[in-house]
Symmetry: D3
Subunit: 260 residues, 6 copies
């Protein structure tokens, strides 16, 4: 099967690290296609970055549909563009925050999130609540390192991550640690050994779970909210995002026609 | 004071209707600037449309900051780009779904939402939950009319809206009705008279509440999550969204420097 | 428009401070009528005080209805008598705790409450939960100062308030502070400057929001729970609270009559 | 032991019915003292009625303390004055809504409430939520009969109650029925036989549970929220509610003294 | 009335302590029958122990039904076998965790649990959530003492319990303490005196509440979930748990017969 | 890898159906070992059945540990013995209800459960709540067919299942259907085709997800709640469940020793 792993930021080095993590859990016969969009911010550390990155993610989903793809992974811990992506394809689409929380729920009663910048914890809280994991997530912590520092200074970052994770375990009694950034994927194994508890990297979780969903022949339900978006003109800078069929202007029909 | 009301879709006719609704609640001395972005979908009826529209909203917030603005209203019921907008400005930013829910909570114990297409109700549920109104919102209903039909065939749409609202009141016992689309703003008064219960239009709610917040001298807290986004390069189609200061590349500094 | 601000306790000096706060946010053309009831405790620091104060609040609402009033504010952080007040009038009635929570929700992700005596925090928790703000309120703190000390020794009180607020911000990461007593209204501006985060005074919030609701032509729904109370005799000390029409004894009719 | 059962309304006939229900569950050696306050509305069917009735309840608690009382029951389904009553005494105080919910939770997975007027269901919902029973309570229904009709026309009322209860069981699958008014106490046994499910009368539940708490030697914690209210002047119509010690004006001391 | 108190573990000394606690709250005329099952672990400190102990509990319920029993108490803080027990009898069955939480809710706004081993706190959290007490329970603490140490070294255990309870009160502001193990029943009175707040022993709570339910003539609803289990063969080691009527194999009938 | 799928009931025919379902999603290289315990009820349709079946499940986990097993699936929709099983092994253990809910959450906004007997829906609700899926599960329905009828009369059962599922979709708007019994596994594919929405069989979900967890090298955290159970004597009928090491009686040591 073919799984497309989209790194929503435009830093190629991080895309390669994400690819490596994805390959760790790939089954024989699974092709991992790890990509960055051609547009967007070099890292995602704010709601603003996420809004911009979502556009690039949707561009990659559209390309993926043209190429034939069995499942998609959105490899940024804010799961940017996830709902919209699920409208564009009936193949499974998984965010790495979402996947990490699901995986962590099998590892014990509770988990703590350790991420890069504390300003992104608000988004993490929103996702935890929206996905139904508020009882399981007992700690939200940040190392106060910029995302790209993970590539530039991995050792210094790892030390901060390990220290912060130990604090979380000691203070919250969490059973496991969820890594709050795709850029931390390469530190997962070492950290788990240091902490003696499960450490969950969302990239591996999302790839592994997406393979499971493909095996189950699961797809996103397309009877309602996640049906293809209504076709319509998109203008200006984003004109290329007009979906095929939009010129048919089907929603210009009168209501009475629609009823008949 | 100056309030900028952003219609996130690119249909100018709807922007004018929204402006009219806004003016109904403007104080003496308030200037309403109602605009559509120069880019994006002509209507917002899916998560995909929302993701695209968010970019245009952020563009308008940035322009508004350059012009001096006291408060912003995002006039689409999915509140697209709200969190990101709050990072770009310390002036109050209100989404019309958010504002409508707050207003409705003063009108009784419970409200029902009546919107255009049922496929958008999932987003409405997410916002209700995220904002803390899940006990108050007792009904989610749709008229199954496309957004732009509200402009093209207002009478037929009004009849569907009234019929659906009556059903909601009868079945759920809701104390009030929240209109689920900015395009319904012009139908608010007539509907309230027909139903004998409060009907809340989010555009009026958001403009009225934003004036209240400006009077209170309130702004968005900028100590954490809603501080200005970290400056950084944005590439490709969205390059113009690079924030000033991004070339200074402040997050390229080493972690050790950051500590000192 | 005319807004009646009811200080539920019977300390005139506090009523004057509340009036000053109210005037800070009054629109041109708004008349603020700040009153204390003719009966009740000199301060409200317990459930017992609240139960007694509710009676005076209802007395003032009834007077307000005779005089023509566009909106009411109940200026005590326990929102005493709020539900009952909403039955007596279809004009908007806002409690200051309620209004403060709503306002704070526009100022960031989270707020902390700082109040006078810790014994009143239970009521604050109940209101936060009942109004739907349990995710937003991340800290409950008390200065352990009696309410009337705020009038007698404002400086000493301010110092305690500032110290406690700083502790709340540091420990909870709250984005803003909600003042837990109408008597603190005069300290709002100074505290906000000292803390560099939004500080919300419920009196200003309630007056500003009530003006917004009047602008929107909003009223309390009177189809069910908040219809006028059934008329009936009230005996003994509270006889004067018998509502007009109670001697008609309409609920003495037989059930069969009621059905016909 | 001596249990004081306070009927918060001033209709003596209902007080006698309540006394009868209480006696059904009294242990040998238990004295039931069923009383109505000397002031207040003849029935409680609105938030307004509840606010007024609370004062009479508190008056009776104060008398009860002078007389020596082991536990109190507040026999109105809105539990008026409950929190304040718990400040006035360390003896257990139970509301009948509260007691009924607790008892119902031992009778199965879920219960439905059947009450008099639908306008009171909002209060029932608030109590269910505040006490933690929102998962258990699966139906809220009303017979639309005034409270005093229960005394005047018991047979017609019973028929409505039985019909409404059967509808609740059929539609919600509730395991038991909670009677939503103290005036229905006398119909409990007959209804349970007719429905073949447990029917819970709050008066019996509260008296039975209060005996249990007295046996356990339980009292209300008086370390914080439920300590005696701070003594202070109460003026005007309610002057008699000034607590002993209020003239000592202990909260007129300066903050500095308080610290020392 | 006859109340059967089942100690789910097989340590007779603990059964005798539990009996003593039960007798403290027994009414005149109540017979307490305190028993241990003939099978199962000597103490219950894990989910594994609970699963094994449940079988013994069910065995004792079946014996109790043969002997005529008015109510049952399951005297282990994990409430093992509670739902299944309620299927086997329509007499009230109370778990001591459940009973303790209910009792504590009458003693103030909040309680903290102090138990033996921290590994059992997960089960306590599950019960608190499932029963609806998550807002009331503000602290979960453990003394890290094995259950049987309570019998062997009561004094050392008491000292740890008192120390841990004081810490809970100081840090959480809880209004009362719930003892997290039936083996602590004998320490309840002494601890309450030392702490000056209510201390709730689940054994006394369950016995007192079960007497209250019997007085109310309450039983478990048997219309749905808690009807008698469908009769069927049980094989192997547990063959004796086959319920009477299982050989009639009523569920071997065809679906069509069942419909007719 | 080796995955042991435990059918908690003792009906061999159902074990074979479960095995077939498991094999549908097995990766190349995965060995499925599908077993029934040597003891317990022939089907699981009550809390009583579950309590008995848990013992057999634990027996099979212990055998699995001796044989070398990479992950376990408990193939009954009540997830009997799940917490206890997680104490006995650090390999992943998944219940099929749990796995089905997780899988369904990737298929859309909401799901409905369709099960055999309505009396088991209470357990389903408890699991949905405990696992955090209460917002996603929008319908609970039963076909009122005994579990073993699924083997005896598959066609009649399928027709009931399809009819009930259609009703669920029409009334609740669910995006997918979760099958509420392991015995329905063979009907999954046909039903999905008939309904045009995803249908989730917990057996396939649990096997697929357990393979994903093994790929991720995940295990159950063993630092707290899910550490090995304390060793201790188990007496009587269940004596064989005494864990190795129990005769060492390590918890008979004195507390003082434990401290040192």
């Amino acid at each position: 099967m073919k799984i497309k792993v989209i790194n929503p930021n435009t830093t190629e080095a991080m895309t390669r690290s994400i690819e490596e993590a994805a390959l760790l859990v790939a089954e024989t016969g699974t092709t991992i296609e790890a990509v960055s969009p051609a547009m967007g911010p070099v890292s995602i550390e704010s709601h603003y970055d996420e809004a911009l990155a979502s556009v690039g993610v949707l561009d990659e989903i559209r390309r993926g549909e043209a190429e034939g793809t069995d499942a998609y992974v959105i490899a940024c811990f804010g799961d940017p563009g996830l709902d919209a992506a699920r409208e564009l394809t009936s193949a499974p689409v998984l965010g790495i925050a979402e996947a990490a929380f699901h995986a962590a729920s099998f590892a014990g009663r509770s988990f703590g999130i350790v991420t890069t910048l504390s300003r992104t914890l608000g988004r993490a809280r929103d996702l935890v609540d929206a996905y139904g994991f508020s009882k399981l997530c007992v700690s939200y912590a940040a190392c106060e390192i910029p995302v790209l520092a993970l590539e530039r200074e991995p050792l210094a970052c790892y030390r901060k991550l390990e220290a912060e994770s130990k604090k979380v375990l000691a203070e919250s009694g969490a059973d496991s640690i969820v890594l709050g950034c795709a850029g931390m994927a390469g530190m997962c194994q070492r950290l788990s050994k240091a902490l003696h508890v499960p450490v969950i990297d969302g990239v591996q979780a999302a790839v592994a779970l997406s393979q499971a969903l493909v095996r189950m022949n699961m797809h996103t339900s397309s009877v309602g909210e996640f049906a293809l978006p209504p076709a319509k003109p998109v203008i200006g800078l984003l004109q290329a995002f007009t979906l095929d069929g939009a010129d048919s202007l089907n929603n210009a029909e009168s209501l009475d026609d629609a009823d008949s």
